[in-house]
């Protein structure tokens, strides 16, 4: 699929940007904090609805403006879609698809457009906290499944409410019976939706593992073996079975067993919001043992696997967003990435120095230069 046109209005520091993309390669040049990543972020939001870089919609809106607008023309394998997303300071979004207003701006956005985002920060995925790996799973599953998005949103809300209840129970000295009565209404929803989330996450991790394993094997000439395992406290006593009713029963046991601890700590301690993905390389935990080079190879394999998952599950080649990653990848890894991309893939690349990019990347590329949120076209030959 292709992004044929993008228009941004008041999106972060970009007051106005409009460009037709008639190429497969778009290179966005700029110093740090000039706004080049913002363009990629806007494109990513069209696929995943939310941004890893923003906690709240307000952060996406240019200072002192009431709303930000992302307009786009997208070409899929069998359709043309026009998406217009308005992000408001009030927190309520407006979405138009092919000119028609949609009732559920979050959910209706999903499933029209797919991206794979590879940013320099993704290198923390291996050694960083479990929340980074959960975010990685959630944003990818969100674009693949509207149902996942809905389950996840409801789950998160129930967890927030449960945490608030536990905290107030702790402060107000609510009776145990009354607390249990009120907890049960949130736990019921947490179990209901959490079980579905678990099922989809485990399935996705298994798919990614099988693809990424192959990529890492190829990259390392058979010297490195990758393993991914979904980790949840819920399965600490009984092994995982892909049966939603059984998962619900195990989840419920797990929550009941944690009641005292949850009350003492004032927060929900069991469920998908506390889970993790264990990454192993050559049977050793990557988090503790992977070298710098191995971490880069693992990430690259995971990103190529993400891409393949979209291709297989959605029958579309996603748009690839490479945010400042070339400076982090040596020549052999750059080559591996470029040689394993599907034909016809559209790639947006941000970089501070055009010299970080290989020559074949610049062939037929559109080069844009960003300075303080202003974007100008640049002839491709300059900068060498």
């Amino acid at each position: 699929m292709l992004l044929k046109r993008l228009k941004l209005t008041n999106f972060r520091n970009i007051e106005h940007f409009e460009e037709d993309f008639n190429t497969l390669k778009i290179i966005i040049l700029g110093q740090n904090a000039q706004g080049k990543s913002n363009i990629l972020e806007a494109v990513n939001i069209l696929a995943k609805s939310s941004s890893d870089r923003a906690l709240r919609d307000n952060e996406l809106i240019n200072f002192n403006k009431e709303f930000a607008l992302i307009n786009s023309d997208i070409k899929t394998s069998d359709d043309d879609i026009e998406i217009s997303l308005q992000i408001n300071t009030t927190g309520r979004r407006k979405l138009k698809i092919n000119g028609v207003s949609k009732k559920a701006p979050q959910a209706d956005l999903i499933g029209n457009f797919f991206t794979v985002m590879f940013a320099a920060d993704d290198l923390y995925l291996i050694k960083g906290s479990p929340s980074l790996r959960r975010k990685w799973l959630d944003s990818n599953l969100t674009q693949l499944s509207k149902i996942y998005h809905n389950h996840f949103a409801t789950y998160q809300k129930s967890i927030t409410q449960k945490n608030a209840l536990l905290k107030s129970a702790f402060e107000s000295g609510m009776s145990r019976k009354s607390l249990q009565e009120q907890l049960s209404i949130w736990n019921k929803q947490i179990i209901e939706y959490g079980a579905e989330i678990l099922l989809q996450r485990v399935d996705y991790v298994n798919k990614i593992e099988s693809f990424a394993k192959q990529f890492l094997n190829d990259m390392s000439s058979g010297n490195e073996t990758l393993q991914l395992n979904y980790f949840s406290k819920i399965f600490s006593d009984t092994p995982y079975v892909p049966d939603v009713e059984k998962i619900k029963a195990m989840f419920e046991d797990s929550i009941n067993n944690s009641f005292d601890e949850e009350l003492a700590r004032g927060q929900a301690l069991v469920g998908p919001h506390r889970d993790d993905v264990l990454i192993q390389i050559n049977d050793k935990e990557a988090r503790a043992f992977a070298s710098q080079g191995q971490q880069r190879s693992i990430i690259l394999s995971l990103k190529l696997a993400e891409l393949k998952a979209v291709e297989i599950l959605k029958n579309e080649v996603p748009v690839l967003l490479l945010d400042d990653v070339f400076a982090e990848l040596d020549e052999s890894r750059q080559n591996f990435l470029l040689h394993n991309l599907p034909e016809g893939i559209q790639t947006f690349i941000t970089t501070t120095h055009i010299s970080d990019l290989q020559h074949d990347l610049l062939e037929n590329a559109l080069v844009l230069k960003v300075e303080k949120g202003k974007i100008v076209k640049k002839p491709v030959t300059s900068g060498f």
């Binding site: 009431e66 009030t90 809300k157 409410q161 449960k162 608030a164 209404i185």
Partner: protein, 199 residues
């Protein structure tokens, strides 16, 4: 340039209204300033009068100029069926369908610990009293299908079901996450028709 004090005060007050941002508040304030005195008095008086005259019905907790309200005293309403809603605006949404002939009970919100709203902050005790005293045929839970709406329905079902009355919830037609207020009449009418018993 800074606003002169009375104007600033007016903008601040408008900004407290739901859904009004700083820009709109400023527009509204300038609109008021540009009206003649008569028009502004009309606006101010209607706000004061609404606030003074409208009270809560002591029976169903709906807002009305009369206590008990028009619905509670009407002889054409079936008072053996109670429809439980969160806010008066949801009651109005259901009334618009012209399909429902029973009476109401307005909870005054939904259970939401982050907003400091527990069962005690809602008129749940009053509902419980009504249900145990009266010989009811049916209690319809007509709440939003949001997380908080679902949680409140679960809670109500839990405390009402020992009383052995028929408890139903709105049926198909209402997708998850729907706020009743925004559903159209036909959807609500269908959801009323297709309501199902909570087991």
């Amino acid at each position: 340039m800074k606003y002169t004090k009375p104007l600033l005060k007016l903008i601040e007050e408008f900004q407290k209204l739901p859904g009004v941002g700083p820009k709109s508040a400023q527009r509204m304030a300038f609109y008021v300033l540009n009206q003649d005195m008569e028009q502004v008095e009309k606006l101010a008086n209607s706000i004061l009068e609404a606030k003074k005259l409208i009270k809560k019905c002591s029976s169903c907790h709906n807002i009305s100029a009369n206590d008990p309200c028009e619905i509670c005293v009407s002889s054409s309403r079936d008072n053996k069926t109670i429809c439980v809603v969160s806010e008066p605006k949801d009651l109005i949404a259901i009334e618009r369908t012209n399909e429902y002939k029973g009476v109401y009970h307005v909870l005054g919100g939904l259970i939401s610990p982050i907003d400091g709203i527990g069962p005690d902050e809602l008129s749940i005790k009053e509902l419980l009293g009504k249900v145990s005293k009266n010989n009811l045929n049916e209690i319809i839970l007509a709440l939003d299908t949001s997380t908080e709406g679902e949680a409140t329905m679960l809670y109500l079902n839990r405390i009402l079901s020992p009383l052995g009355k028929k408890i139903t919830r709105l049926g198909f037609g209402l997708p998850a996450g729907t706020e009743l207020e925004y559903a159209d009449e036909l959807t609500i009418a269908r959801a009323l028709e297709g309501r199902s018993e909570i087991k």
